[in-house]
Structures are given as C-alpha cells and as structure tokens.
Amino acid sequence: MKKTIAIAVSMAATPAIAGTVTVTIPRINVAEYHMPYVAVWIEPKAGGPARTLALWYDVDKRGAEPGTKWLADLRTWWRKGGRSLNLPADGVSGATRAPGAHRIAIPASVKPGSYTLFVEAAREDGGRELVSLPLDIPTRAAAKASGKTELGAVSLSPR
C-alpha cells in the first residue's frame, strides 16, 4: 500500500518538470566576496516574452538601499522582462546562493517549442556575465555551456 502510494507520487511528480538546469557559481578568491545576483530565464526563439525561472538576490535587505536596488545590474535580464516582474515572485525569487552547483526545475507549464536559456550573474565588487544555451521543450538530450568568470558550468538535463 505504502509502495503504491510512493509509485503514484513519483509518477505524478515526473511530468511536473520539463527539465532541470544546473547553474554552477564558481568559487572566486577575493578579499571581499559577495554572492552574485543571478537570473535564469528562457526566451522563445521565435520571439515573445521572456519567462524568468529563477532570480537570486538579496531578498531580505530593506532600508534606503533595498536588495532590489541592484536588480538592474542584471542588465540583460532586466531589459528582457525582469523589470516587469512583481517581486518577490513565488517559485522564482530566492536568496543569493553560495559557490557550488544549484538545480533549477523548468516548470512543466513551459509550452513545447524552441527556446534559448539564459543565465546572467552580477556580483558586487565583481563582474557580470551572461551565458546562453539552446533549449528545446520537451527536453530530450543533455546540453552544457560554461561561463568564464562569474559563472561556471551551466547544464541542462531532461529530468
């Protein structure tokens, strides 16, 4: 009985995502390190609005200089649609992440088609980098790209 529930759950859970993006934030040896702001979004190749999958920024910072103040530093994301997002956004925004690999689910609600996946990172006292990768939904094969400075490997898997 318990087993059948578990199977049912796993079957139901499987189609809930259209794929997984893994974003690696590199460890950077500097005296003053701040974790980067990162935006992950997709754009239909044929044109159309961007959809933000993840946004990591200083969500809790308030006061005269709230964490949102620097979102425009993710300048490509900001122009492609970040500026129209109401923040914090459920399932999208979250705190900045430490160096390491982080997994982001591509929601099953993303319609089949050809997209470009973008990952942009901007770091206080550091640089800014944009990495892109072609993405087909449904995802069939794994794909990989890599940043040089502010981002490490960016990979895509069907599950």
Binding site: K69, W70, A72, R75, T76, W78, R79, R83, S84
Partner: protein, 313 residues
C-alpha cells in the same frame, strides 16, 4: 546681411568665439533604475567634447523634470562649479522620465533711423528685470545643445560689433513701429535625457506637432550596443526626412578619433543608429526653415540634443 545678423545673434548669446565648438551636455549618473526610491545625479556643462567638464558650467536655472504621469518634478541640490553644474532628481514614480531644458524665443536685428538694434534679452543679470518681455524666455536663455549654443561666457572681446545696450529690446512686442530691416529668427530648442524606473512608458513621447521633435522607435533607455536603434524625427508633426544628425560618444580623450557619426534620417524621418560601443552618447541635430510660428519672424531655427546611454549586451 546674413553675416551681420549672425554676428548680432552671436553677440546676443554672449558667446566667445569659436562658439560653434562648444556643446551643451547633460550627463546623468544612470538612466535605468530598479525602483522608485532612488535619485539620479546629473552634471551639466558646455565644452568641445561632450561630457568633459573643461570649459563652462551650464546655467541650470531652466532645467525641467517631466515625470511619467505628466506631472512636473523638481531638480534638487543644484550647484554650480567652475566647469560643470550639478543637480539631483528624485525618481519617485515608475516609468520613463524626461529631464532637460527647452528654449523658445525670438532674436534678431532691426534698424531705427539707420541705427542697429536687436531683439533678445542679454545673458546674465539682471534676472526678472522689469518690462513685459523680461519674463518671457528669450535668446538669452540657457544654452541649448547645438553648434552656436555655448556657455554663459562673458561679453565678447573687442573687434566685433557691439550694440548700445539701450538698443536692445527684450521681445518683438517692443520693436518700435518705425523699425526697418527687421530680420528675426524664432528659436526652438531642447536638450534632454531620459531615465526609466521599472518598466518604461511612452506617455512623454506623444508628439505635440510643433517644431522639431524626437519620437523614439527604440526606447531611449533600452539601448544596447549590439542592437541598432531607431528614432523618428518630426517637424510640425511631419516626418523630418533627410535630417542630418550628429552622434558623439563620450570619452573622446581616450581615443584617437572623436568618433562622431554623421547620420541622415530616411524618408519617414527615421534615424537608424549602430552603436560602435557601449557608453554615453551625445545626439544633436538642428534645422532651419522659413516657417516660424510668430508672423514677425522670417526664419525658424530648431535644435534637438539628447544624451543617450547605451549598455553593453
């Protein structure tokens, strides 16, 4: 006659030669903001190379702030240094703001009993000096961007025709009825930049149908160096075809060439710009025609100047 009237115009503006080389510019600290809790801080000066404060501070008394909702904002913390003025603008409403100066006036010359006279208030003090025309913005207003608009320099050195100060009237209404050789030019100019907080808005880009106007096709706070931008120019609401527009990138002293692009609008008045690099750009154009709004003037000189920020992709 043309030469003479030009000299008079120059004298009215109080320029020091070679005045054509000094350009008026605004340099905002940023043009894209994430929220409505911030300010932009702006430098304003006149110099040969845009954005390099090395000649004169701009007179910023006439700076206006058009907020996206149609209300007027206020410049804050104005100060005048030797080479540049500064002010802040609180960007407290979402959308695209317009900040700068507009200048409308009539200037020129006429004769009374063979003696040369001119129209146009002298630059500098006294502000608010009496007379019905004194309150009207005249040729002595703040400098607009283009060639011929220079700094609020001291009066011209000797060797050029000087007009008896008593032979200057502030407005066309004060021209005596016995005046002859009336040669008046209507001037209309704008010098401005744009700031967007959050999502951009186009409310401030609705053309008025009067004079030379800039109507963006690509929003001026959405410029990226790897994407061409398009701007439409209108004259009295009609496409300004074949208009020559000059674009100078900032940072000139770090390059061999000044990097000036001289571009021309197409048949629909649309200018297509390809940016050689990211950075601040100074856009300038002017147009003279014989369709002044004021029937007493014979010519109309219109100019438009904008500072545009182009981001890296």
């Amino acid at each position: 006659m043309i030469r003479k009237s030009l000299l008079f115009t120059v004298a009215v503006c109080g320029l020091s030669l070679p005045a054509f080389a000094h350009n008026a510019w605004f340099l905002p600290s940023t043009t894209v903001l994430s929220d409505t809790q911030q300010s932009v801080t702006v430098d304003a000066g006149t110099s040969t190379a845009p954005f390099e404060p090395n000649h004169n501070a701009m007179n910023i008394d006439g700076v206006k702030v058009w907020a996206p909702d149609g209300s007027m904002g206020t410049p804050e913390n104005p100060a005048k240094g030797r080479y540049r003025s500064t002010f802040d603008v609180k960007i407290d409403k979402p959308g695209t703001w317009r900040i700068g100066m507009e200048n409308v006036g009539i200037s020129g010359s006429f004769k009374v009993d063979g003696e040369p006279w001119m129209v146009g208030r002298r630059r500098g003090p006294p502000p608010g000096a009496g007379g019905p025309g004194a309150a009207a913005p005249g040729a002595g207003g703040p400098p607009m961007g283009g060639p011929g608009a220079g700094g609020p320099g001291a009066s011209a050195p000797g060797g050029r025709p000087r007009i008896d100060p008593s032979h200057i009237v502030a407005s066309v209404d004060e021209i005596p009825t016995n005046a002859t050789d009336i040669d008046l030019t209507e001037t209309m100019g704008r010098n401005e930049f744009f700031v967007t907080a959050g999502e951009p808005s186009e409310t401030l880009f609705k053309p008025s149908g009067k004079g030379l106007e800039f109507v963006p096709v690509t929003l001026p706070t959405d410029l990226v160096s790897n994407e061409p931008a398009q701007f439409r120019f209108l004259v009295d609401g009609q496409p300004a075809a074949g208009l020559e527009v000059e674009l100078i990138p900032g940072g000139r002293r770090y390059r061999e060439a000044d990097g000036t692009q001289k571009l021309v609008t197409d048949g629909d008045g649309v200018l297509t710009v390809t940016w050689p690099m990211a950075g601040m750009y100074w856009l300038n154009t002017s147009l003279t025609d014989s369709k002044p709004g004021n029937p007493k003037a014979s010519k109309r000189r219109m100019s438009y100047t904008a500072t545009l920020e182009v981001l890296a992709p």
